[in-house]
């Protein structure tokens, strides 16, 4: 009788390379992450090109297939990208492209992979959400939407996270956004002060909904009328 094999989260696979600090990395070239080749073999139509920059592997993909690729990288036993480090975006200067960037890490195989998808700025900025794969993508994608205006299809609650929800001036990290904003200072202040400081939290966010049945009866009545806090 053999002991059942328990998969420990955060433990490296037995055949994973030993951790090492990379030194003297070239700007381009170097050892490519084997996952990039595997991804290109598995999805030949979705991988546009691959490159190694400062020792990290970038894979440029077709935006519409991001969710599919990330799902495979997460689920496949030979990849095991369990950790979504970041979802962000880069807009390049002088009318350059707008890229959505996913940083993935495979703890089991000690690999780091960067996926990039270039969006056409003349079209609506839409990419599939990876929230169904990584629940941690929730706030990362909200921040990306807040700052760049990229819509993530399939995100459960896509709204602003850093700026307040009534913010009307646009998306601050876009290159066409002036540093001081679009409105006058007095208009900005007037709009900010008109916000209700308690309106940032929805019932779902506070998870009151989960405990609703255990609340006192009179509190249930008050919450039923739309009250958000006890003040």
């Amino acid at each position: 009788m053999t002991a059942p094999s328990i998969k420990m989260a955060g433990h490296a696979a037995p055949n994973a390379p030993a951790p090492a600090t990379p030194r003297n990395l070239p700007r381009t070239g170097g050892v490519e992450n084997p996952s990039a080749q595997a991804l290109a073999d598995r999805f030949p139509g979705a991988v546009l090109r691959r490159e190694v920059i400062w020792g990290d592997t970038n894979v440029h993909i077709v935006p519409a297939r991001a969710r599919e690729l990330v799902q495979w990288l997460h689920d496949d036993p030979s990849q095991q990208y369990e950790y979504l480090v970041d979802v962000t975006a880069v807009e390049h200067r002088s009318g350059g492209p707008l890229e959505v960037v996913w940083h993935l890490r495979s703890i089991a195989f000690r690999r780091f992979l960067r996926l990039k998808a270039t969006l056409d700025k003349t079209q609506p900025l839409v990419v599939p959400s990876v929230w169904p794969v990584y629940k941690g993508a929730d706030w990362l994608e909200r921040e990306c939407y807040d700052m760049f205006g990229i819509r993530f299809e399939g995100h459960p609650d896509l709204r602003r996270i850093l700026m307040w929800e009534q913010y009307k001036e646009g998306f601050p990290l876009r290159k066409d956004f002036p540093l001081r904003g679009r409105f006058s200072r007095s208009e900005q202040l007037t709009q900010a002060l008109s916000a209700n400081p308690e309106a940032h939290y929805s019932m779902g966010e506070l998870r009151i909904a989960d405990a609703f049945d255990d609340l006192p009866a009179e509190m249930k009545v008050r919450l039923g009328h739309g009250e958000v806090t006890g003040e």
Binding site: M163, E169, P172, R185, Q188, L189, A192, L193
Partner: protein, 208 residues
């Protein structure tokens, strides 16, 4: 021999043997003396200035020497708002509500370049000086100010408080409660809610 030293006008001295158990002074003086030396600060720390504020309150610089050892983390039991750090526009309604929740008399210190003017953050997200939101009594410059700077600002505020006169309402404007405001709670209701600890609504000059 020689002249005896002049009495310090800022010190209340009481010698039962010579003065037979009572003192005479002006009401303004004794009220302001009490207020200036028992401020309860409410720190509104949003950035690195709050670290310097903590150092000011800790043992080396010791804010307790000025009657401020009692930090109030509730605006309802404080009378000095120390805004330490930059205030983004998203926090502007929060800061204003905290100011409105403080009982009168109340004062505000704007600590550091960012709170006073926006500082280096001349951008879309940061309020360009909290005096656009709330009235400010003392601005402390610095990025961040050293604890000595903050203490100097606090002492300036104490000087300002000691010069207040009941006959002259221009030095500090009392905010009358606005019954049409969403935040308005009648004094009787506050009394009811705040039992048994009491509340300061009846301690202002303007309250009925």
């Amino acid at each position: 021999m020689g002249l005896s030293p002049r009495p310090d006008p800022n010190v209340v001295s009481w010698q039962p043997a010579s003065q037979e158990g009572f003192i005479t002074t002006s009401l303004d003086f004794i009220v302001n003396w009490g207020r200036a030396n028992s401020l309860w600060p409410m720190p509104f720390g949003t950035a690195c200035c709050a670290i310097e504020f903590m150092a000011t309150a800790a043992s080396k610089f010791d804010l307790a020497r000025f009657g401020m050892e009692r930090m109030s983390f509730s605006p309802r039991q404080s009378d000095l708002l120390i805004c330490a750090g930059r205030v983004p526009f998203k926090l502007a309604p929060v800061l204003r509500r905290i100011w409105q929740q403080m009982p009168q008399p109340k004062w505000a210190i704007s600590m550091g370049a960012c709170a006073s003017s926006g500082g280096m953050f001349d951008n879309y997200a940061v309020v360009q000086g909290i005096d656009t939101i709330i009235p400010v009594d003392v601005y402390v410059p610095g990025c961040p100010p050293r604890p000595e700077g903050l203490i100097y600002g606090i002492m300036m505020l104490q000087e300002k408080i000691k010069r207040e006169r009941m006959a002259d309402p221009t030095l500090r404007r009392e905010m009358e409660p606005d019954p049409t405001s969403q935040l308005y709670i009648p004094a009787s209701r506050i009394d009811e809610l705040s039992e048994p600890f009491g509340n300061s609504v009846h301690q202002t000059r303007s309250a009925p």
